[in-house]
Amino acid sequence: MDTSFLEIRRVGKIFSPHQNVEVRALSDIDLAIRRGEFAVLSGPSGSGKTTLLNIIGGLDSASSGTVLLDGIQVTDLGEKRLSALRRDHIGFVFQAYNLIPVLTARENIEYVMRLQGHSAAACDRRSQEVAAKLEIAELLDKLPNQLSGGQQQRVAVARAVAGKPKLILADEPTANLDSKSAANLMDMMQQLNEEEGITIIFSSHDPLVISKAKHSIVLRDGKVVANEHLD
C-alpha cells in the first residue's frame, strides 16, 4: 500500500496582516493522500482550504510542519526547485480560470509542456489528445475572452493535465460555473483521474461536487474535522 504519496504533517499557517495581529489560518494539519486519489477539501469559506492547497503546491509557505510529495519535502525547497516541481509534477486549476489572456486555448494548454522542453510536435499531439477528452477540440484556436466560463475552465484543466503531473490541485474549480457546467467538469476530471491515474485534490463547498469525491476532508477554522474514504 502506497501511503506516502502526499503526507502533510503538523502543518500550521499564521498570517500577520498587521503588527500585533495574528490570524491562525491552519493549525496542526495531519493528512495523508494516496496515489491516484480523487480527494475533496470542503468546509465553509475561511476554513483554510485555499491556504492548504497553496502550501501543498508550494505557492505559499507553511509556518510550521512539513509537506512530503512523493518523497520530496516541498516545505524545504527553494524558489527554483519549487518552480521545477510545479512545472513537472503539479497542475493547478484556479477558481477564476486564470488563463493567459494573450495566448490561444491551444497555446495555454501547451505552455507547461513547452516549459518542460517538449518538442512542438509532441505538444501538439498531447494538446489534441487532452482537448478531445475535455471536448474542447473545436475551441483550440480561440482566445480566452472568446470562450464561456465553462469552456475556459475546461481549458484550464487541460493545461493542468497536459504536462502529465502527478498531482492536480484545483481550488474551487466550479465556483464560477452554472450547475450543469459544474457537473460536466467534475465528470471529466473524474474521468482523467481514472484514465491518466493522476491524483486530484480539489476544494469546494458545493454538495453536488463534493459527492463525486472518493476521499472527503472537511476543514473548519483551520482544523481537520472529518477525514473519510468513501470508496
Binding site: 527554483k80 518552480s83 512545472r87 493547478f92 486564470n98 493567459i100 489572456p101 494573450v102 516549459l115
Partner: protein, 407 residues
C-alpha cells in the same frame, strides 16, 4: 522561443503602452541623432571655416614665438623650413607668411592694422583670401606695393580700389619702415575682426621694405587630408628638429575648439533633461503594463515558470519595443541628417550672433555619419531597456501567491 512569441502577443495586447513607448523612443532617438548631426556638422563647419579662411591647419613657428611673438623669435631661415616641409609626405601646399602690425594712414584717417607679406599664388591653396575678393583683383606674384585690403578696414580708412594709402611700421631689423601702397583688391571673409584689421602685400615686396628676406613669422601648411593634420604635424616636428615647431589647428585655435565643446556640452545637457522625462514615462508605462499583468505573472509562476524565464519574457518585450522605437527614430534622425547634409540649414537669424563670435557660417550642413548614428541608436536602446528594468524586476519579486491575488 516561446517567450519571444509571448512578448509579441503582449505587445499587441497592450497597444497603448507599445505605441507610447515606440513613439517616445523614436522621438528621443530621432532627436539625439539629429542633434548630434547638427551640432557636429555646425561645429565642424564653423571650425573648418575659421581654420581655412586664414589661420590654416598647421602652423610652423620658432618654438618661442607663440609665447613671445617678437622679432627675435622669427623663422630666420625660410629656405630650411621649406626644405623640411617638402620632404614630409602628405602635404598639399605650404608657404611662409610675415605678419606685422602697422599704422595705415589714408587722407582722412589713420587706423592700426595687420600688414602681412604672403605668397599670393600659394595662398590660393592655403586660405580663402582669393575667393573672398569683393572688388578689384587678387594680387599676383611680381606685383609691387599692390595691397589686398580687408573690407571693414577699407571702410574705416575710407579707401577704395585704386586709392593710395601709407603705412608706418617696424622692419624685421627694428628699423623704421614706411611706404605708399596702392589698393588693388578688397576682400571680405565674413570674419569681422579679420576683415577689419588685415591687409596683404606680396612677400617679395614686403621683404624689401621690411628687411625680412628669408624671414617669416610662420609657415602655413595645408595637409592633403585635413583630418590627418595631427599626424602630419607629428611628422613635421620630427623633421624640423628643435629649431622650429609645428602645431595643428587644435592647438592654435584651442579657444574655438573648446568653445565648440562647451556648446556641445550644454546641448547634450539640455537633451538630457528632456530624456530623463522621456525615460521616466517609458518606465511608468512599463510599470502600468507589468502590474496590470500581475495575476498573469502569478499564474505563470504557479504553473512552474521560473522567475528568470518571466524576466526573459518581459525584457524581450521591452527590448522589442525599444528596438522598434530606436530603429524608427534612427531612420527619421538619419533621414533628417542626410537631408540637411545635402541641403544645409541657413540660419539667417543668427548671423549677427555668429559674426560677433568671429564665426563666419551662415549655412550649416549636418554631418551624416552612419557609425555615430548607430552609436546613438545603441545608446538609446540600452537606456530604454534599462528604464524598463525597474518595474520588471520589482514585479518579478512579488511571490506567486500574492501575484495571483493582486488586484
Amino acid at each position: 522561443m516561446i517567450f519571444i512569441h509571448f512578448a509579441l502577443r503582449n505587445i499587441r495586447a497592450y497597444a497603448v503602452r507599445s505605441l507610447v513607448t515606440i513613439l517616445l523612443l523614436s522621438l528621443t532617438t530621432a532627436m539625439l541623432v539629429f542633434a548630434t548631426a547638427f551640432m557636429d556638422g555646425s561645429h565642424d563647419k564653423m571650425l573648418s571655416n575659421a581654420v581655412e579662411i586664414y589661420p590654416g591647419y598647421i602652423q610652423i613657428t620658432h618654438p618661442d614665438f607663440r609665447a613671445k611673438p617678437s622679432l627675435d623669435n622669427l623663422i630666420f631661415d625660410v629656405e630650411a623650413v621649406a626644405r623640411a616641409v617638402a620632404a614630409t609626405p602628405g602635404i598639399a601646399a605650404a608657404a611662409p607668411r610675415f605678419e606685422t602690425f602697422v599704422l595705415f594712414a589714408a587722407d582722412e584717417k589713420a587706423v592700426g592694422g595687420m600688414l602681412s607679406g604672403i605668397d599670393f599664388a600659394a595662398e590660393r591653396r592655403l586660405s580663402r583670401l582669393a575667393s573672398s575678393r569683393t572688388t578689384g583683383r587678387y594680387p599676383e606674384d611680381g606685383d609691387g606695393n599692390q595691397l589686398y585690403l580687408g573690407y571693414e578696414l577699407a571702410r574705416r580708412l575710407q579707401v577704395e580700389v585704386g586709392d593710395e594709402l601709407a603705412f608706418v611700421g617696424t622692419g624685421a631689423d627694428y628699423s623704421f619702415a614706411a611706404d605708399n601702397l596702392e589698393v588693388v583688391g578688397i576682400f571680405r571673409t565674413g570674419l569681422f575682426d579679420f576683415d577689419a584689421t588685415a591687409a596683404f602685400v606680396g612677400k617679395d615686396y614686403f621683404d624689401g621694405v621690411m628687411a625680412a628676406t628669408n624671414y617669416a613669422t610662420h609657415f602655413i601648411v595645408q595637409p592633403e587630408d585635413p583630418h590627418a593634420a595631427d599626424q602630419v604635424t607629428a611628422a613635421l616636428n620630427e623633421r624640423l628638429g628643435r629649431h622650429y615647431v609645428a602645431e595643428s589647428w587644435r592647438t592654435t585655435m584651442e579657444g574655438l575648439v573648446q568653445a565648440m565643446l562647451v556648446d556641445s556640452i550644454f546641448g547634450y545637457l539640455t537633451l538630457a533633461v528632456i530624456f530623463v522625462v522621456i525615460f521616466f514615462v517609458v518606465l511608468i508605462y512599463t510599470w502600468l503594463t507589468v502590474f496590470a499583468r500581475m495575476r498573469e505573472i502569478g499564474v505563470l509562476r504557479a504553473v512552474g515558470t521560473r522567475p528568470g524565464q518571466i524576466l526573459q519574457m518581459l525584457v524581450a518585450e521591452s527590448a522589442l519595443l525599444a528596438l522598434a522605437g530606436v530603429v524608427l527614430g534612427g531612420m527619421i534622425g538619419a533621414g533628417l541628417a542626410w537631408y540637411f547634409h545635402l541641403h544645409p540649414i541657413t540660419l539667417a537669424m543668427s548671423e549677427e550672433v555668429f559674426k560677433q563670435y568671429g564665426l563666419a557660417a551662415s549655412s550649416m550642413p549636418t554631418t551624416f555619419a552612419p557609425l555615430i548614428i548607430l552609436r546613438d541608436m545603441a545608446m538609446m536602446f540600452v537606456l530604454a531597456v534599462l528604464s524598463t528594468l525597474y518595474p520588471i524586476i520589482k514585479a518579478n519579486r512579488v511571490k506567486p501567491i500574492e501575484a495571483i491575488h493582486h488586484v
